[in-house]
């Protein structure tokens, strides 16, 4: 049985194999991502409950684990109401536009080293990071169009506020990764992960076995600052607290998605969680070594199938840790006011990111001279 399949695959041309394996990877990643989106909601509710000393969802299945399935069924079966005054075409496509960019971003993220001969990344682009930012920047349309489609005051203000926020923080986010690429000298995300193998070199030898992984966040103070800016911008880009103004409940009656119901509303919701997961995956890849761990030779590309699966597992655990942190922050911080948000973005983070680029460039120049 297994031999038959192997023979059949070997018989295919290179082009057919490429199409087959890409198809399999796309379906697998899509499936895992959508499951994670569903369970991110469950994690959010459980963590919220634990922090507020409540029980949280516990009725559907053990520990409420079937809750996401129930939520999904509910979202599909509820009445899909379209108010009379909305702009129909935009009202229909806006939820889809909100979800799609978050799904497309994962295409360039290396989620493991390799399984057999296959690299565990859907598209190994040499401009990987630019592709990511390009797609992320399209995410604004979903929210703007949702606000516009609703054709009433509060969603419109919500949409405008949100687009202003996302455009502002996109700049800081884009500029925060430039030092990273100056440092590494490559825009390809797989190469970036490879450059994070081993341990950092700057710790004194006297510490002995106390060593830090050679992840980019630990490699220099400039890169640590980059990570900090990226982290804050990622919170703002995914509309999470303390930057969840687009849906500031008390001020805007819910924001850009008031007029939506049923699965259309759920799509916005899923888009937010998918964006949160992809942002976490980006942070893991860019700053926290991707699928590598410096111990037990786990920073070398896998040579066996179990090794490959282990790398995927490592990547997954790191992403879950970030998702957990993002959820945690939601219940620890109050929301920023809109003027504070803009002030922070334009007058603090963008100049800080610019200075960071210049300092990194100067440092690299001095190092190359000596």
């Amino acid at each position: 049985m297994f031999d038959n399949i192997t023979n059949w695959i070997d018989g295919l041309t290179a082009m057919q194999q490429f199409v087959l394996f890409s198809g399999v990877k796309i379906f697998a990643v899509f499936g895992v991502l959508m499951t994670c989106v569903a369970y991110a909601v469950w994690v959010e509710r459980k963590v919220a409950a634990a922090i507020q000393d409540r029980v949280g969802p516990n009725r559907a299945g053990p520990f409420g684990l079937l809750q996401p399935a129930c939520d999904g069924i509910k979202a599909f079966l509820k009445e899909d109401f379209t108010p009379d005054h909305v702009r129909k075409a935009y009202f229909w496509i806006a939820p889809a536009i909100a979800l799609i960019p978050a799904l497309l971003t994962v295409a360039v993220i290396p989620f493991g080293s390799n399984l057999g001969a296959q690299k565990m990344v859907i598209a190994d682009l040499n401009v990987g990071i630019l592709y990511t930012f390009g797609i992320v920047s399209l995410g604004v349309y979903g929210i703007v169009l949702a606000g516009y489609a609703a054709n009433s005051k509060y969603p419109f203000i919500g949409g405008i506020r949100s687009s202003a926020q996302m455009v502002s923080y996109e700049l800081a986010m884009g500029m925060s990764v430039i030092p990273l690429f100056l440092w590494v000298g490559d825009l390809n995300l797989s190469q970036l992960v490879i450059s994070q193998q081993g341990f950092v070199g700057w710790l004194p030898d006297a510490l002995g076995s106390v060593r830090l992984p050679n992840w980019l966040v630990f490699q220099s103070p400039m890169l640590a600052l980059s990570f900090f800016i990226f982290l804050v911008a990622a919170f703002a880009e995914t509309n999470r607290t303390p930057f969840d103004l687009p849906e500031a409940e008390q001020e805007l009656a819910g924001g850009y998605n008031i007029e939506y119901s049923s699965i259309k509303f759920a799509l916005f919701f899923m888009g937010e969680y998918a964006a949160m997961i992809t942002a976490s995956a980006m942070m893991v890849t860019l700053f926290f070594g991707g699928w590598t761990l410096p111990w037990f030779g786990l920073d070398q590309p896998a040579t066996s199938i179990p090794g490959g699966l282990l790398h995927i597992g490592i990547f997954f655990v790191k992403v879950v840790a970030f998702v957990f942190t993002i959820v945690w922050v939601r219940w620890m911080w109050p929301r920023f006011r809109y003027d504070q948000l803009m002030d922070l973005g334009w007058r603090r983070f963008i100049p800080l990111a610019l200075v960071n680029i210049v300092v990194t460039a100067l440092w690299l120049w001095i190092r190359s001279r000596s």
Partner: protein, 169 residues
Amino acid sequence: MENAQAYLFYVFAALAVICAIMVVANPFSRSPVTSAMFLVLTMGCLAGLFTLLHAFFLAAVQILVYAGAVMVLFLFVIMLLDLKEEQRRQVKSLSLVAGLVSVGAILAIFVRSLIATKPGEGALANVEGSTSKLGKLLFTQYLLPFEIVSVLLLVAMVGVVLLSKKDLK
């Protein structure tokens, strides 16, 4: 493989032309927002064409800068305008003439350069793919045009700041 690329070229080229026509002459809607959204689609198709030419950097930047940033700001401004008045407005003969003249001029340049170059000749595409090569070219061979463009952008920015100030001191 070659065939697939040819098909993709025709698909993207046709979509780009159709979307571009929908930007200026949409039979179903006169809303500027719809025009802007079709312009975004046109940009997306152009990025597809750049990808087929192996100019990945250009394709990514096309999406990042034009579709993601410039058009979002366009949409932003359009939404804050009075759209009803905009939809009622008729095309003035003067703007029609100006538009036709400028389109005609650009078309003439295109046709002339198309006739002048034969397939497989012309400027060598030495910037495709690699971002670092492109960067080096921008800062050596094309330094002057590059700097002129950046000064132009600076002038535009200063102009906006000046215009948006209500009373000049």
